[in-house]
Structures are given as structure tokens and as C-alpha cells.
């Protein structure tokens, strides 16, 4: 079953408000990380993932974006979403496995999603079904050596049903990716291994959908990587491209400003802009 939305921009706005609401309620960090990848998740998890497909948020520190999407899809109720970060919740800062449909694995210890995703994609090949696997990684995460073990494995086994999405915002926990270990998400590395590669604007949902459809239409034995150029903190003026918003939580004033930014940017054409107060 495929969900469609007539106004992806509104969805980009609504989910950002939901994410900001979660981080505000929890007084938690990783806000920039979630805002960086939410548009990728709208395109894949919400708009393109079919029932038989799997989506893995390998960069599990952006769990709030995952929870917001699963709430949008109806897999996590508003009541459960309200427990985010609290003691006893099924929605911790990094995804816990087997608590909700759509989260079959623990992620957030970086570098695990691609091996797991390769295994799921391989299982589909062995079972002869047409399921696809989307694995969303951060560019910093590709520092992890398992990335490259898994990439070779995926090629060797002809896993053209595996789509790797790299949220390439150029920043990782404590520095520019270029300064920390260099550009480990350089497209040439993936090309050299033998992946089908596409580079795309990671905030242009329509463009992303086109690219996803394009790679999915190529059952050529080669796994796919979509390198999405993104902006950490996208949508909130004072967070964009700022390293500190990897970890910082918002003050109440900053939260207000963030919501105002998002509303102005994505929701000004929506009649009921006061919706954010009812979301969170």
C-alpha cells in the first residue's frame, strides 16, 4: 500500500514541527541530525516504502525523525509518541528493537544498518520476493569499516534491491567530516566498488522520488547508493550548517524560534498554521 500526499511541503513542515516538539519535550539533542534526514525519510519511508519493503534508520541518533514518520504512518500512536525519552518508553533516544512495527533492529551504534540491510536484501533474493531495503546512513557513519565490508558483500551478491541513502551534511559529532577522517562518503568510493550512484539534493522531495524510482527501475545486479546533499538543521535558520546542533537541546525561546522558522518556511501556505500547537 502506498501513501500519497498532495502537499509534500506541508508534510515537511508538519513532521519538522513534530520532531521539534519531541526534542523540546525531552530537552534533548540530535535535532540537527533529524532535520537533516527528515526529507529523505519522507521520500522513502513515507512515500515509497511498500508493505514488503524494509526501511532501516542506521543513523539511529535521529530516532525522533523515525518516530515522527511512524506516527504519521499510524504505527506509533500519539499517546506512545508522548512518552519519547521517558523512563519506561518504547521510544528511547536510539531505536529499540521489536517494540514497534517498522523497527525490527536496534540501531544507533553506527555501522550496523548496512550489514543488516544487506542480509535482509539477500534474504529477499533467496526467497525470490521483490522486497526492497532502504538503509539511511549519515556521512559520518561511513567512517565505520563495516560500511565497506557490507558494500562489497552487497555487490558480490548482486543485491540490486538494496538502496543506501547517505545523509551527507558534511558535519559529524564534533567536526566537519572533511576534517575528522576525510570524505568517506565520496561518491567515487561507491562507484569504485561497483554501486549504481546518484547524487541529489536531499531536501527536494520530488527530486528524491524521481531518483528513487530511477534506481528501483534498474534490476541490474548492482546495489544502489543515493548520496543526498543535505543541510544539518535544515529548516531552522539558526541551526542550519551549525555543528553544535548535533548535540545541543533547545531553550524555550529557541524552540519558539525554531517553530516559527519552520512554519514560515513550509507552512505559510497552509490555512491552519496554528496546527503546530495541536501537534506538540
Amino acid at each position: 500500500m502506498q501513501t500519497t500526499f498532495t502537499d509534500t511541503q506541508a508534510l515537511q513542515g508538519r513532521l519538522r514541527l513534530k520532531i521539534l516538539g519531541l526534542y523540546n519535550q525531552a530537552h534533548a539533542g540530535h535535532i540537527g541530525c533529524s532535520l537533516s534526514c527528515i526529507d529523505l525519510m519522507i521520500a522513502t519511508l513515507i512515500l515509497r516504502k511498500r508493505e514488503q519493503d524494509t526501511f532501516l534508520l542506521s543513523k539511529g541518533h535521529a530516532a525522533a525523525s523515525l518516530y515522527a514518520c511512524l506516527n504519521q504512518l499510524g504505527d506509533i500512536s500519539d499517546e506512545v509518541l508522548a512518552t519519547y525519552y521517558l523512563n519506561g518508553t518504547t521510544l528511547p533516544a536510539h531505536p529499540a528493537p521489536n517494540k514497534h512495527r517498522g523497527i525490527p533492529f536496534a540501531t544507533g551504534s553506527l555501522g550496523h544498518g548496512l550489514p543488516i540491510g544487506s542480509g535482509i536484501a539477500h534474504a529477499s533474493k533467496l526467497l525470490g520476493d521483490d522486497a526492497r531495503v532502504y538503509v539511511l546512513m549519515s556521512d559520518g557513519e561511513t567512517n565505520e569499516g563495516t560500511t565497506w565490508e557490507a558494500a562489497h558483500y552487497a555487490l558480490q551478491n548482486g543485491l540490486d534491491n538494496l538502496v543506501v541513502l547517505i545523509d551527507k551534511n558534511g558535519l559529524q559529532g564534533f567536526g566537519n567530516t572533511a576534517d575528522v577522517l576525510g570524505d568517506t562518503a565520496d561518491v567515487r568510493k561507491w562507484e569504485a566498488i561497483g554501486f549504481d550512484t546518484v547524487e541529489v539534493d536531499g531536501h527536494d522531495v520530488d527530486g528524491l522520488l524521481g531518483v528513487i524510482d530511477q534506481v528501483n527501475a534498474a534490476p541490474n545486479g548492482r546495489p544502489k547508493v543515493i548520496i543526498a546533499h543535505t543541510v544539518k538543521g535544515k529548516g531552522v535558520s539558526y541551526m542550519e550548517n551549525r555543528l553544535e546542533w548535533h548535540y545541543l537541546p533547545m531553550s524555550p525561546a529557541q524552540y519558539e524560534q525554531a517553530c516559527a522558522d519552520v512554519t514560515e518556511r513550509y507552512l505559510t501556505t497552509i490555512p491552519n498554521v496554528a496546527e503546530r500547537t495541536t501537534v506538540y
Binding site: H112, S118, I120, A123, L126, Q156, N157
Partner: protein
């Protein structure tokens, strides 16, 4: 002392190879993975029979663990095989996150465990693996003692839903358990009835415990020998029943005493029925090069050492 005899000797890893080849016929969902050690893990028969159910992962153990976790989606039962050192310590976080915490039906099958790997030396002689694996929630940990028991365990774990760590080895050792045995996970095997001392043994030390039991019997000491093949879940009932009868115990394993079977026994006794316990195992040191026999002698993993520890613990009663 009950008499145990053997007519043949084989390595436990060959028991694994035979077990998975047999399992392949009855369990179409079983698939075998390896990190370029198919020969060492004796997978040839399985690969020959079921080439489409064998996955070569290359020398990339971390990825193999993640891939195995992913393969379970849809019902496959992956047997991920490599040396014990690379099956545990090297990939602990992959096992922890993707297999144990995510509670996936992966069977981690590890050969060449312990000192009996021999001349390859300390880099490959892992003596901490049982401890690492038993600490993981959801993980079942099994260390069989001979070819037949390893084969039976290999078959039995396919029908257990959940992560398993199955540990075996390289040396050729006596086959003294029945070929037609049914392996029951978590149920200890009562090797010999006695009332003087309990000997809890696992893996390659079970045969040593039997030899020790014979020596002790000649001296009028009848040992209650219990094979704890399943380190976790531990058969606490069997341990307590034995020690309540004997009043003291010796543990014997080819593993570090920190974190091994002996520590599990100690915990059960401390919580339920405090009694003197002595360990036969490796004492906080890495291994070294040597023949398996030389190393087992040097590090005190022998029948003689078990007898010595029995005397020591009985004096503490």
C-alpha cells in the same frame, strides 16, 4: 565409576560439519555463512549438498554478523561460522546490537576455541568467549564435549528460536557420548553418580573429568560428574542437587576462570547453597604456542589437575 570407552577419536568441529550437513536435509531454512573459513569449519559436505544455501562473506566477520541478523527476516536460520576469536571478541558490538538485543534467530558457530588451537598462539586462542557470550541477554551458550555431542547440539539449536553461541574446537579427541543422543538445551548430562565431590565440566575438559573420576574412584573417592554443555541457560537444578549431596565442587573448562562455567557455578552456589568450589581453568593469562597437549599440561587443564583440585576442595568441606 561408570565405565566410558571409546573406539574412535575426532575433532568436535567435524561434529559440527556433520551436524549441519544432516540438518540441511530436514531444515530447508538453514543456511551457512562463513568468513573465508569453510574448510576449517568442515562445511564441505553442506556446501556440496546445498550450494545455494551457502554464503561466503569473505574475511569480514562484523559484516557477517549483521548480514546474519538481516537474513532472519523472512525465516532463514543463519549459521554464521568462523574461529571463536573472530566470532566473539572481534564482533562483540555487532552481536550485541544486531543479534542479541534485536533478538534474532542467528546461530553463531565458533571453532578453534581455547588453548587446543595449539601452535597458532595466543592471538587465536580465545579464552574469554563464553564469558562475553553468556553476559548477553537473549543469548544461549553451548560448549559441547565430543564429536557426537557437537553434532547433536548443531542439530538441536535449529529448533530453538533465538540467538545461540555454539563453541567447539580443533583437536582430535575421544568420542564417548552416544551417536544417537538427543541434545536437550539447558539440561545437564549426569556422567557419573557419586557423593564425595561434584565435578562440573564442559567442552574438552569432560573427557579429562572422566579420567579424573577413574583415578579418584581407584582411591575410593566417587565423584558426581556432571557435564554442563549448556553454559546458559544454566541447569541450576542439577548443580544444586549435586552439591547438596556432595558438599563441594570443582569446575573444569578450557576457558578463563573469570567469567566461565566455574563463575556461573559459583554464583548459583553463593546464592543458594554456599559450598567450597575450586576451579580448573586458565588463570588470567593469555595462551602461547605449543601442541594442544603441551598447552593443556602447562596451563593445568588435565585430569591430574582435576584430581588435585578435588583433593583441595574436599579438604575444605
Amino acid at each position: 565409576m561408570k565405565k566410558y570407552e571409546y573406539t574412535d577419536k575426532k575433532d568436535t568441529r567435524s561434529g559440527f560439519g556433520a551436524g549441519i550437513a544432516e540438518l540441511g536435509k530436514t531444515h530447508p531454512n538453514v543456511i551457512a555463512l562463513t568468513a573465508d573459513l569453510a574448510g576449517s569449519l568442515k562445511l564441505e559436505a553442506f556446501i556440496k549438498e546445498f550450494p545455494d544455501r551457502f554464503i561466503q562473506c569473505g574475511i569480514a566477520e562484523a559484516n557477517m554478523m549483521g548480514v546474519s541478523a538481516g537474513l532472519t527476516i523472512g525465516g532463514k536460520i543463519p549459521y554464521a561460522t568462523t574461529f571463536a576469536n573472530f566470532a566473539t571478541g572481534r564482533v562483540y558490538d555487532q552481536i550485541r546490537q544486531s543479534i542479541a538485543y534485536s533478538n534474532k534467530n542467528v546461530k553463531i558457530c565458533a571453532s578453534h576455541a581455547g588453548l587446543t588451537l595449539g601452535e597458532d598462539g595466543a592471538t587465536h586462542q580465545i579464552l574469554e568467549d563464553l564469558g562475553m557470550m553468556k553476559m548477553l541477554p537473549n543469548m544461549t551458550v553451548i560448549n559441547p564435549c565430543d564429536y557426537n555431542q557437537t553434532k547433536a547440539a548443531t542439530i538441536a539449536i535449529a529448533d530453538h528460536v533465538g540467538p545461540v553461541y555454539l563453541r567447539f574446537g580443533r583437536p582430535v579427541i575421544p568420542i564417548f557420548t552416544p551417536a544417537d543422543q538427543k541434545f536437550e538445551i539447558g539440561k545437564a548430562w549426569h556422567v557419573n553418580e557419586g557423593d564425595a565431590v561434584s565435578i562440573f565440566c564442559t567442552g574438552h575438559l569432560v573427557w579429562e573429568a572422566i579420567k579424573a573420576g577413574e583415578m579418584l574412584s581407584e582411591q575410593g573417592i566417587e565423584a558426581d560428574i556432571i557435564n554442563i554443555h549448556t553454559i546458559k541457560p544454566l541447569d541450576e537444578e542439577a548443580i544444586l542437587a549435586s552439591v547438596k549431596k556432595t558438599g563441594c565442587a570443582v569446575s573444569a573448562e578450557e576457558h578463563m576462570i573469570n567469567g566461565g562455567l566455574g563463575d556461573s557455578v559459583a554464583q548459583v552456589l553463593a546464592r543458594n547453597y554456599p559450598a567450597p568450589l575450586e576451579y580448573v581453568g586458565v588463570h588470567d593469562t593469555f595462551g602461547e604456542s605449543g601442541t594442544p597437549d603441551q598447552l593443556m599440561q602447562k596451563y593445568g587443564l588435565t585430569a591430574d589437575k582435576i584430581v588435585e583440585q578435588v583433593k583441595k576442595v574436599m579438604a575444605r568441606k
